[in-house]
Structures are given as structure tokens and as C-alpha cells.
């Protein structure tokens, strides 16, 4: 690649060669595009100079604009806005940028703005904006609540969204889209009003890891500037070694279960021969168990291993991260909490415990080891039950095929829009026509209808329909065409609630003697009695009492303790991995079976003996009659999420044949309908039951959509400002404003069923939970598959994990409620016995 001959490019290339750096082709190409005034997307893995690709481009651009005096110009106003989803990354990026700026000889300033930024620092920034501002989407929205915020962006040349693949597909991504659209437009407005400083438009760049839909990712990002843009790919080959840990005694390995703890000892030699190992566990609860187990198996590791997950107090987490950098730790047991963020140089090995559920996640985790160019990423896969060995084989295949998942952008998130409009109403206020035109240019709200927009505005100004005379609803007021929030307290409350990451109701856990150790969910702690011992942050602690919003504990030496479970969303197998998994099953007991499948030989033989091993073009259905009822098991291998929808539809359709109640359970391989009466499914109706006909109507009618919408509604209600979580110091005052999301959901369902946020909840269920597109595809695939119906006399290896894993039970009934209760009554001596305080969900494992 021939570098461009601009002065900026020469300065940068000279500087790089002084440092004996050789720019990669993709960096040169990015600089060229920036010089040409283009926007676009850089696709590069971490640790290969993606930051420099874009950042140095901004510097080249500046030098070119000021060729003679670039090294003297101070206080140039904001030039580069760097949006990053990760707070932890900001510091390192900032430091790297500062070093470059200093040694190139630019008198620029770099500043960070996020939740950790002090008020004095914020004030300083307001007075004198730095040239480079590194910011999170949330803090960027906070900036928009300031009076006269457009002036901050007057001199802005470039906006960069780092880790765009992380934001895309989430509501934070929508938040980013909205902020970008506002900044681009307010910048244009200023210029149109004669404040023109330079004629150029702000450049917009994204940086993304590899995802299945890079082109779409670019289009979504560039939507507000209506430009085609370029995609620049870094072609850097990074070898990955995948090892599967095969249990030596396959027969004794559990069919179901969650832990794979039995294999903990096999990790010790791996840890010992590596410099530093990250051990990824899928849930926080399990990571606590694993940490304890590793210490029991290898006591000599005490002090050399640590635990890291999202519910551990921040200072403890920071300590672990620091210790990772300085090579003080041999291994860290972690969750998705270490998926992203700064790379830890010493890490040369990664262990994945249990299914990573997707190819991209597995690759990302693998990439946390040996991340520098030229090094090899090494990942070990430890299955937590027998069937996960099949997944191991499928993952290897998926990596060969480069089958990386897409990130689907979210659309029409009314909750985020409501929050955004309040944000604008606090700052400068907004004009409805301007903002409507503006958001129509974002990908998220391109299809927003005028009527929906009216409803949104009505929600803000009138609070929906009300009894005029008896109402005092107050939030956004309209004055001379400008929508504003004038009430100071309301504005302050809104500022505290900006953001789209909704956490569960958490209580802080604190030692009697002082010192926080982490957070725990309210529902978990409410089931414990004082004196009970539980594990948090790798320590056994005894509950002393709950005071306000703190859980007071003391150290415990008890041998037995309860491991908390944090609800959190369970990940679902992706379509890509599901597809490959079906093909992998076809190979079982065949000569093509690899090491993983061969180790499961006896299990597959049993499955074949009792029932059948489905091949890629078959759908297996098993019907088993057992003591606890009639089980119908279906194995589409489409992932938990699709199974949730499919099972609800199947239950609904069966319910149309006879009145029947089901409880439903599922995992990534299949689902189970359990009933107290025989389930009328046979050759005669099976095709009809799985047809795509009336799919939409049937989804809507299945009761589950209500249950699912209720779950979705929680986040929506918080983001959309219906649930007020209270702020520190205001807890007491806010008491009369508390209500639970499920109660609000019930109220809206009954009294305002057309509410726009409620509709969004149902929409999200259709699009994300039910994943209608994927569901339809799955059913179409099934309609072309051969359906195999078997009647095993015992639980089969495939059915076992689903039946055991009954945590995610959903109920669906076509019986009248009263009949249902009467029936439940007859099933037992008296209903009193069934009025059980919910205790059994307080199990130890998530």
C-alpha cells in the first residue's frame, strides 16, 4: 500500500518509523479514506492496532487542515469523540492516545468521561473541552442534558464508535444511534445558522470485531449521515488451538447436571503449565462453586487464583484485573465479566467450562489468550455434561467453517426513545418536527409511524389517557413549540436513570466490621434466615441481618454453605451452532465420529437402543410415561430461545384438540411438554402440529407471550421511566412511588392494553424472544424433515437433561382456570398442602 503524500500522513509515517513501527495495510487504507473525507467501518481483532487506524487518521486530518501551525494550536475545541461501551478500556486507550500525541508534538488534550469521572473534572471539561473525549453512550446522553450542549460539538471533526459489534443489537446501540443523530444534526444547524467554522461534515467511523453481518453493521452506524461508507478489513491470521477435555470414565460422567466439577482436577496440570489461565464459567453462581472446588482440589493454588464476576464489589474486581496485568495470578475463575476489556498480556491459556452457546463468544474468549500478533490462542473446552462433548465437536467444525453469528440491530425501541426525549427535554428542550425528522434517519426509528410518534409525545405530555379533571400528570411541558421538563427534581431523577442496562433488585453485602464484598439478589436473600451461610466472592459468610438495602454478614468457617444464584438471562444456542450441532449428531456411531463423539459411544448406543439418534434431516419426538406424568420430548436443536416459542405453540395447538395443561421445560437441544394426562400426539396429527400455517396468530394466542412479555416489560418499564428505583438519600421519600414491574404489567394489561410500552414488550417477545423469523425457518426445516416418533420405556440420554433442568418451567393451559384449580385440588388431599411457600427455586444452581 502506497501511503498518501499529505503532510499529515508524512508526519505520522515519520513518527512511526522513528519508533520502528510499520503500519499495517488496513491502517494505511483507513488513513487514506479519512483523508478523502469518507466514513466507514474498520473490522479488526483486538490487539492489532485498530485504535491507531482511526485515531491517527483524525490526527492526520488535523495536521492537513493546519499544515504550518498544527504543533502550536492549543484549545482547539472538541475534535474527536470516541464512544466506547467499556469503561475499563477508556483509561488504556486514553493513555495510548496521550503518548502518541505527546511524541508527535501536538498540544492536544485527552479526557475521559464516564460514570467514574469526578464533578470537578466534568466542570473543567465544560469550561474547556479537550480535543479528544472518550465517553460511554450513557455519559454522552448525559452531555445532552446540559444547557447549550450544541456548542460543545461545534468544532467536532470525527466521531468513532469503538467495539460497535458489542453495541449493535442492544439498546445501548440504539442509545448510540440516537446520540450520533443529534450531534450530527445540531452541528449542521449551527453551521446553517452562520456559525460556520469549516464546511466539512463530521466523519463517522466504527470499529468492530468480525460478525456475520458487517455490511449491515456499517449501514446502521452510517444511517444518520446517509453515506455509503467503506469497510476496511484487517487481514491478520490468528491461529487458534482448541482442545477438548475428555473425561476418562465416560460412563460415570453425568448425563445432565451443570457443573462438570468432577473434572476439576484435570484443570490443575493445564493451569500449572501455563503462565496465566482464564477459566470462563457461564454463570456467577457456578463460578463461585468452581473457585471453591479448585481450591479444594489444589490447595497449593491458594493466593494464586482469584474470582471475578459482575456481582463482586468493584474494588475487588479491579484488584484482580491489576494482578492479572502484573502476572501475580496463575488463574482467574471468571464469567462474561472478563469477555471484554483490556487485554491481559500474561494470559496464554483459556478454559471454557460448559457450552459457550455461540461460535463468536467461543472465539472471543479464545482470543483473550495469546492476543498479540504472532502468538497462538489456546482454549480448552471442558464439558459439564456428556452431551456437551457433541457441542465441542460442533464448535471445532464451526471454527473451521468460520460460521460467526450476526448481531441483529434493534428497531423501534420506544422505551429508549422516551428516555432520550426526556433527556433532550431537560437540556435545551426539543422541537417535535426537528427531532422526528432526525430520528427517522436512524436505523432504529426509520419505520416509526406518525401515529406512534404522537402516542410517544402524548405519553410524555399527558401520561396517556386521563380523567382530565382529576389528573395532575406532569412531566414534559410544551412552551412555544419546545418540549421541556421544568421540574428540577424530575430532571435530576431522570439524569440518575439515564441508561439502558437494567440490573435486578440487588442488595449490597457488607461485613459487620465494614467493607463491601458484592451484591446479591433480593429474592435470594429473602429466603435465608440469620445464621445461614452463603458464598460470595469466594468467601463463606454468615447472614447476620438485613438492614435497609444492605445485607450484613460476618466471616464463617462453616463447611457447608449455599451458593447464591443470580437470575440473569440464560444464553441460548445460536442458529449457526445449532445447525452444525445437528450435523454433528448425524455422525454419531459412524466412522466419521471424532474423538468427542467416540468417547460418547456407550451413551449413543443406549440412546439408539431406547429410542433413536436423530440425523440432520430428522426430527426426533419421544413420548415417555412416568410417575410424574406424561412427557412429550421434541429435539429440534434450535436453542433454548426458539424452543421456548415452539413449545408454547405446540402446547397451544395440542390444547385445541383437548383441554389440557402443560408445564414446559427446555434446553438448547430440545423441549419437553409435561402433563398429568396423556398427550394426543401421533402420526395422524404431527405434521399439522408443526405447520407454519397460522403461525403468527398461534404465537399471539399462546399464553406464554403474556408471560414472556411480562419479563420483557421489566427492562422496558425501567428504561421508559415507569419504574422509579429511587436514588441514594432519597430512598425514604420515594417509598410511595415503588411498584414492581409485574404489578405494572398487570395494571397496563387490564386498564391500558394499547399502551405503547406494553406493545413494545409484546413486540420484543415476537422479534427477540420468539424470534419469529428463526422460528418460521425452523418449522419450515422441520416440515421437510422426517419425523421420528418413539415411545421409550425409560428416560433416554437426550431427554434426561431437559427433564432434570426444570428451572425454566412455563405453564400453558387451555382448561378453564376454575377447572384447573379443582383438578389440582383433586390431585392432592387438600389444596392447603399445595399452598407452598416458594422454596424450591432456592436451589443451589442456576
Amino acid at each position: 500500500m502506497i501511503p498518501s503524500s499529505s503532510i499529515g500522513n508524512r508526519v505520522i509515517n515519520n513518527w512511526l518509523s522513528q519508533k520502528e513501527f510499520h503500519p499495517f495495510d488496513f491502517q494505511q487504507e483507513t488513513w487514506k479514506s479519512i483523508e478523502a473525507g469518507k466514513s466507514g467501518l474498520v473490522n479488526a481483532p483486538t490487539g492489532c492496532g485498530k485504535t491507531y487506524a482511526v485515531f491517527l487518521g483524525a490526527i492526520i486530518q488535523f495536521i492537513n487542515a493546519h499544515p504550518t501551525d498544527y504543533h502550536q494550536l492549543k484549545n482547539n475545541g472538541l475534535q474527536l469523540l470516541w464512544i466506547t461501551p467499556l469503561r475499563a478500556l477508556a483509561k488504556d486507550i486514553g493513555r495510548a492516545m496521550e503518548e502518541a500525541i505527546d511524541s508527535i508534538g501536538l498540544p492536544w488534550k485527552v479526557a475521559i468521561r464516564n460514570g467514574d469521572t469526578s464533578t470537578s473534572e466534568r466542570a473543567k471539561q465544560k469550561k474547556n473541552m479537550p480535543e479528544v473525549l472518550i465517553i460511554t453512550p450513557e455519559s454522552l446522553h448525559l452531555l445532552l442534558t446540559q444547557k447549550n450542549y450544541p456548542a460543545l460539538f461545534e468544532s467536532l471533526q470525527m466521531m468513532v464508535v469503538d467495539e460497535w459489534h458489542e453495541l449493535l443489537g442492544s439498546k445501548r446501540g440504539v442509545q448510540t444511534e440516537l446520540a450520533i443523530s443529534r450531534i450530527i444534526h445540531c452541528n449542521q444547524e449551527l453551521k446553517q445558522n452562520g456559525h460556520q467554522i469549516q464546511p466539512t461534515q463530521i466523519l463517522l467511523w466504527g470499529i468492530s470485531a468480525t460478525i456475520g453481518n458487517l455490511v449491515e453493521a456499517k449501514e446502521v452506524l452510517l444511517s444518520p449521515i446517509k453515506q455509503e461508507g467503506v469497510i476496511i478489513k484487517a487481514i491478520i491470521d490468528k491461529p487458534i488451538e482448541v482442545h477438548t477435555i475428555i473425561p476418562s470414565e465416560m460412563e460415570k460422567y453425568p448425563w445432565a447436571g451443570h457443573l462438570g466439577i468432577k473434572l476439576a482436577h484435570t484443570l490443575i496440570p493445564i493451569i500449572e503449565k501455563s503462565k496465566t489461565t482464564l477459566i470462563f464459567i457461564n454463570t456467577r453462581g457456578m463460578s463461585e462453586t468452581w473457585y471453591q472446588t479448585l481450591l479444594t482440589v489444589a490447595p497449593e493454588l491458594a493466593g494464586a487464583i482469584a474470582l471475578h464476576h459482575g456481582s463482586i464489589e468493584q474494588h475487588l474486581r479491579l484488584w484482580v484485573e491489576e494482578a492479572l496485568h502484573t502476572e501475580k495470578l496463575k488463574a482467574v475463575v471468571c464469567t462474561a465479566s472478563l469477555d471484554l476489556g483490556v487485554d491481559f498480556r500474561p494470559v496464554d491459556t483459556v478454559i471454557q467450562v460448559g457450552s459457550p452457546k455461540g461460535v463468536a463468544r467461543f472465539l472471543q474468549r479464545a482470543g483473550r489468550s495469546g492476543h498479540r500478533p504472532g502468538e497462538i490462542s489456546k482454549i480448552y473446552f471442558l464439558p459439564t455434561h456428556s452431551l456437551e462433548l457433541v457441542e465441542a465437536a460442533a464448535l471445532k467444525e464451526a471454527i473451521n467453517l468460520d460460521a460467526i453469528e450476526s448481531k441483529e440491530p434493534m428497531i423501534l425501541c420506544f422505551d429508549v426513545l422516551l428516555q432520550y426525549l426526556c433527556t433532550l427535554a431537560i437540556g435545551e428542550g426539543f422541537n417535535e418536527q426537528t427531532i422526528f425528522n432526525e430520528i427517522k434517519q436512524t436505523n432504529c426509528f426509520a419505520d416509526l409511524q406518525e401515529t406512534e410518534w404522537r402516542e410517544i409525545l402524548l405519553h410524555l405530555t399527558e401520561g396517556g389517557n386521563a380523567l382530565q379533571q382529576y389528573d395532575e400528570y406532569k412531566k414534559v411541558e410544551v412552551e412555544e413549540g419546545i418540549y421541556k421538563i421544568k421540574n428540577k427534581q424530575m430532571a435530576m431523577r431522570h439524569r440518575m436513570h439515564i441508561g439502558t442496562i437494567v440490573s435486578d433488585a440487588m442488595l449490597k453485602v457488607k461485613f459487620m466490621s465494614g467493607g463491601f464484598i458484592g451484591v446479591i439478589e433480593e429474592w435470594f436473600i429473602s429466603r435465608l434466615e440469620p445464621g445461614d451461610v452463603f458464598t460470595l466472592a469466594g468467601r463463606n459468610v454468615e447472614l447476620v441481618m438485613i438492614k435497609d438495602i444492605e445485607v450484613l454478614v460476618r466471616k464463617s468457617t462453616a463447611k457447608k454453605s449455599i451458593v447464591p444464584s443470580w437470575m440473569g438471562g440464560r444464553m441460548s444456542l445460536t442458529a449457526n451452532l445449532g445447525h452444525i450441532l445437528r450435523q454433528t449428531f448425524s455422525k454419531a456411531l459412524s466412522p466419521e465420529a471424532g474423538i468427542e463423539l467416540n468417547s460418547l459411544k456407550s451413551l449413543f448406543e443406549l440412546q439408539a437402543d431406547l429410542s433413536h439418534i436423530p440425523t440432520a434431516n430428522e426430527l426426533l419426538i419421544e413420548q415417555i410415561e412416568a410417575k410424574d406424568g406424561f412427557h412429550l420430548l421434541v429435539y429440534p436443536f434450535e436453542g433454548r430461545q426458539v424452543h421456548e416459542a415452539m413449545s408454547a405453540i405446540l402446547a397451544y395447538r395440542i390444547g385445541k384438540i383437548i383441554p389440557i395443561s402443560f408445564s414446559i421445560s427446555m434446553n438448547d437441544y430440545g423441549f419437553e411438554l409435561l402433563s398429568d394426562q396423556a398427550i394426543p400426539v401421533d402420526d395422524s396429527n404431527i405434521e399439522q402440529l408443526f405447520s407454519t400455517e397460522n403461525l403468527l396468530a398461534d404465537i399471539q394466542k399462546s399464553i406464554n407471550s403474556t408471560e414472556m412479555a411480562k419479563r420483557k416489560f421489566r427492562d422496558i418499564a425501567v428504561i421508559g421511566g415507569l419504574i422509579f428505583q429511587g436514588m441514594p438519600g432519597e430512598k425514604k421519600k420515594a417509598k410511595h412511588l415503588q411498584s414492581s414491574a409485574s404489578l405494572l404489567f398487570k395494571v397496563f394489561e387490564e386498564y391500558d392494553p394499547n399502551n405503547i410500552l406494553l406493545r413494545q414488550a409484546y413486540n420484543e417477545v415476537m422479534v427477540h424472544q420468539m424470534d419469529e423469523v428463526r422460528l418460521r425457518q425452523a418449522l419450515q426445516r422441520i416440515s421437510q424433515s422426517k419425523i421420528i416418533l418413539t415411545y421409550p420405556t425409560k428416560l433416554t440420554p437426550l431427554s434426561f437433561p431437559i427433564i432434570v433442568d426444570g428451572l425454566n418451567r412455563n405453564n400453558l393451559s387451555s382448561e378453564q382456570l376454575e377447572d384447573r384449580i379443582k383438578k389440582m385440588q383433586q390431585q392432592h388431599y387438600s389444596l392447603v398442602r399445595q399452598l407452598i411457600f416458594i422454596t424450591n427455586e432456592c436451589s443451589c444452581i442456576t
Binding site: 382529576y470 389528573d471 402443560f662 410511595h736 387490564e750 391500558d752 399445595q834 399452598l835 411457600f837
Partner: protein, 218 residues
């Protein structure tokens, strides 16, 4: 409105209505609790757009119940109003004027924070602590009863009791309920804008779940 169910205590006739109240025949009294009137208004005033229809229908339900049972008095076992004054109270006052002849006794609950003048103007008799009537006592939060208060059978609210019903195949449902213990009754929250506290049943307890407008004895 579905028919009430008779539950006798000390030879007194208590008619339990699935509309979340009790008609005490001998005293011609409608007993209810936790109406939390004007709760929606309180939320709306703070910019949280809860549909007002909940409040309107709660109030309408009470009007219908008074028309049906024609009680001489209404005993509200606390939390008649949700919080400080707001405009929604005017709707209550309007209704109150139309029913001046019905006596209302409020056993003060933790949410009843209005000024005493207000209650007076609304023709509501406020009782602090425990109200005793015939052989029965009424208190907002049963936890406030000490042994020496010698209450006999008592009615309380505050908890918003609910039951969880489980069946075979792990079926699970929740309903508001009337909870009768040996010497007490906990009333369901009258307001539909209220959560549930799931009760632990005991051998000695009788529970009426309110499901789909019907009472189901458990």
C-alpha cells in the same frame, strides 16, 4: 358480581365477596382494607404514567358493593389513601357526597397521612390503633397487636395476602386471598394496583383464593 360466600365466626355472618371485601351482616358493615385510593395520581404527579382507570374502577367497584349490600357503615382497615393529597381525592370526595348517609370508619394505616381536617371534612371517622366493635377488633397491621390488647378475633390488612397454588407437573399460579387464622382474618388488598405477599398456610388456617371473580376455598 358473583355471589358472596358465607364464613361464620362466633355465630356472626361474614359474607366474603370475590370483589375483595366482607359484608358483616349483624353490624351491617362492609369491611375492606388497603384501597390505596389516589395511588395512580401520586405516581402521575411524579411523571410516571400509570393508567388512571385502575383507580376509577376500584372506586366504581366500591360504589357497586355499597349499592349491593346497602351497609350502614364501611370499616376500612387502613391504607384508605395511598399518600399525600392530589387531585384524584376530589373524585373520592364527589362520591362521598353522594353517599353521605353511609358511615365510614378508618382504622389508620401507615399510608394514611392526610391531615385530620381532611378526614373530618370528608366525614370519615379515624381510629388510631385498634377499633373494637362487638366481639371483633380491627387493626391495620396485625403485627402491632400485643398480648395485653386482648383483641379476640381480629381483622387486619397491610400485607396484601396472596396464595401460590401448585399442582402436578409443576403448575404454579398466584392469587389474592382472604386468609383466616385461628383468631384472625387478613383481608386482601381492595386495590387492584397492589402487589401480593404470598402467605405460608398453616394447618389451622383457611384460605379463600380470589380467582377470576370466584372464591375458591383452599
Amino acid at each position: 358480581m358473583n355471589a358472596p360466600v358465607l364464613h361464620k365466626i362466633n355465630d356472626q355472618h361474614l359474607w366474603l365477596s370475590p370483589e375483595r371485601c366482607i359484608f358483616w351482616e349483624e353490624a351491617s358493615a362492609l369491611i375492606l382494607s388497603d384501597t390505596h385510593f389516589a395511588k395512580t395520581g401520586h405516581f402521575r404527579k411524579s411523571g410516571i404514567a400509570i393508567p388512571q382507570q385502575v383507580y376509577k374502577e376500584d372506586l366504581q367497584r366500591l360504589i357497586d358493593l355499597v349499592a349491593h349490600f346497602k351497609p350502614q357503615q364501611i370499616i376500612v382497615v387502613g391504607d384508605l389513601f395511598h399518600s399525600y393529597e392530589n387531585k384524584e381525592l376530589d373524585l373520592f370526595l364527589k362520591w362521598r357526597k353522594d353517599m353521605e348517609q353511609t358511615k365510614i370508619i378508618l382504622v389508620r394505616g401507615n399510608h394514611d397521612l392526610l391531615h385530620s381536617n381532611w378526614y373530618e371534612a370528608a366525614n370519615i371517622e379515624v381510629v388510631e390503633g385498634i377499633l373494637k366493635m362487638n366481639d371483633f377488633s380491627f387493626v391495620h397491621d396485625a403485627a402491632d397487636i400485643v398480648e395485653s390488647s386482648n383483641t379476640g378475633f381480629h381483622f387486619s390488612g397491610h400485607l396484601h395476602p396472596g396464595v401460590a397454588i401448585r399442582g402436578n407437573a409443576k403448575q404454579y399460579l398466584q392469587f389474592p386471598c382472604f386468609y383466616f387464622g385461628k383468631d384472625h382474618c387478613i383481608l386482601p388488598a381492595f386495590s387492584k394496583f397492589s402487589g401480593l405477599k404470598i402467605m405460608k398456610p398453616k394447618k389451622t388456617s383457611t384460605i379463600y383464593a380470589i380467582a377470576n371473580g370466584n372464591l375458591i376455598k383452599c
